[in-house]
Amino acid sequence: MLKKHPLFTFIIFGVILFLLSNRVDELRVFQGATVAIYVIAIASIILLTGYSGQVSLGHGALLAIGGYAAALSRNEWGAPVWLTFCIAVLAAALGGYLLGLAAARLSGPYLAGTTLALAIGLPSIANQFTILGGEQGLLFDIGTPPSFLGEEFTQYKWFFWIASLAALIAIYWLRNVMNSRYGRSWKAVRGNDVAAELAGINVGRNKVLAFTVSAGLAGLAGALLAMTISTVSPGAFPLALSFSLATGAVLSGVTTLGGVMIGAVTLVAIPEIVDTVVHRFESSESVANNLPGLLVSTLLILTVLFVPNGPVEQMRARHEKRAKR
């Protein structure tokens, strides 16, 4: 089904989401919007890591570029909402291009550490320039939902619609890119860059391109994140966010886009589950504070130890093995 009529599947999925959003309460709608944003951000890391063999621990910084670009274009020029998202994508892609120029020459731990330094360094720029609003940051108000959607239509549902639509379009587009000439080149570079070069692929240019596209997606996620919390500030893009996104990407499996939901849902679900458990057993505050981190981190270690390619890829490999017999 998914293989034959991808567009159709995506539309059906969108309709299901649309119907669901009318049935569940506000909190779930908000969490749904968060999942959609994580899906985009994690997909951007999967693209970078799984398809080009590079890892970034600093995607929070690229999200921040997107968020600030969106807020600035809205506040300074009064750009319409759709345009602010486009500007966010372009700004982050430009940042990613510059970073990618350097990153293409680095690999493995060097790149991870460099992006980590960026994630720590970039938010402090906000304090340096008054136009970026310092520690408080900037407001980012996309306005109330259009009136034709009715009185009942809440702000969160509006966020959810925008975020979900953006996620569906982004993933659909990414899926197509992956099956294009570029996607195949990235896979070739990932598999063996010497062989790829001999086959006539410009390895450096492809890595930079992968970084640029990944950063553009991250910028979109950043603008959407800023939308849901109505502000952008250095505190909204902490180091913990960058680590969460890397975690989500590993849990989803960095070699395929197929599992992208797994990581996004896990990141949103674990705090929620812990919260329920804590209320049920009336545990102490320290459990509520630290259990989510412990669970996510343990899951992360177990994943890299036992299913390093991610659950989806693991299942596919097992399936293929069985089919061969």
């Binding site: 890892v55 350097a102 130890l305 390093p308």
Partner: protein, 302 residues
């Protein structure tokens, strides 16, 4: 003039602590080809243990070596339990390069959560063992307190001891041989596995010292989500990389250079710019001289 001297003092003081962290990263990299992103978490854990020991014994100078020993044991345990399993499981393939990075990141999360369970998420305070008021030269107070001086002397002492171990003892020779070529070292009768664990243990001790000294030298406050320790990790990494990532003198040199550059920025330009300047310095060195200040051309960027 006084400002210039203060800048030098601040730079060298900060650099000396980054040097310990950089040494820890270099030792781990040399022994297992892993950048340990959990180094800050391990240092934080050792600092908490140091805090407990200060409470129990009431003496910082007993607590410091004890915390270092416990830090070394913990680090060795991590190598045996996590890193060995990882190397055994690790497959070649697209994810082989990122597996150690992610695993140490996971370890960082586990350590932070565990600290939160045991000690809570609020700040706790460690009292500095010595005065933090600067010495007076004539009328001026310079940026060098008895505390700073002792930190500096402790670090210099540790670097000298490490240098002695590496250059003059059999253990040091084994450590260097295993880093240079594990296979050849193994053929020469060195137990590479055990040597790797020892490399991690020394790194754990250096990290513990960095954490404790940084804490008492700074605000004295620690918490599981301490930004200070994230910075320690990042600056330690930057120092290690610009120094060459293979060489211990390189790590010390890189750390002092980084400390001085950041001090110049902090005093003459703006305190908020230090992070981005550190990042720019790292990029600059990686692009212009990827093998670092000290280091040969081959085998880099692995």
């Amino acid at each position: 003039m006084i400002q210039f001297i203060n800048m030098l003092l601040i730079g060298i003081g900060a650099g000396s602590i980054y040097a310990l962290m950089a040494i820890a990263m270099v030792l781990v990299w040399r022994s297992t080809r892993v950048i340990n992103f959990a180094q800050a978490g391990m240092a934080l854990l050792s600092t908490y243990i140091g805090f407990e020991l200060v409470q129990k014994t009431g003496n910082f100078w007993i607590a410091l070596p004890l915390a270092m020993i416990l830090g070394a044991l913990f680090s060795a345990l991590v190598e045996i339990l996590l890193i060995r399993t990882l190397i055994k499981h690790s497959t070649s393939g697209p994810v082989a390069g990122i597996v150690p990075i992610i695993a140490t990141l996971g370890l960082l999360g586990v350590i932070r959560a565990t600290i939160g369970f045991i000690w809570g998420n609020q700040d706790i305070q460690i009292q500095p063992p010595l005065s933090k008021v600067g010495f007076k030269v004539g009328e001026e107070t310079i940026a060098l307190s008895p505390m700073n001086l002792l930190v500096l002397l402790t670090v210099v002492g540790m670097v000298i001891i490490l240098g002695f171990i590496f250059q003059k003892t059999n253990l040091g020779l084994s450590l260097r041989a295993s880093a240079y070529s594990p296979e050849i070292a193994q053929l020469a009768g060195i137990r590479v596995g055990a040597i790797r664990t020892i490399g991690w243990a020394i790194a754990g001790a250096a990290g513990a010292a960095a954490g404790l000294l940084q804490t008492v030298n700074g605000t004295g406050a620690i918490s599981p989500d301490s930004l200070e320790f994230s910075l320690l990790l990042t600056f330690g990494f930057i120092a290690a990389v610009i120094g060459g990532l293979e060489s211990l003198p390189g790590a010390v040199l890189g750390a002092v250079v980084l400390g001085l550059v950041l001090a110049v920025v902090q005093i003459y330009i703006s305190g908020t710019l230090v992070f981005i300047v550190a990042f720019a310095l790292l990029l600059l060195v990686l692009l212009v001289r990827p093998q670092g200040f000290i280091g040969s051309k081959a085998g880099r960027r692995a």
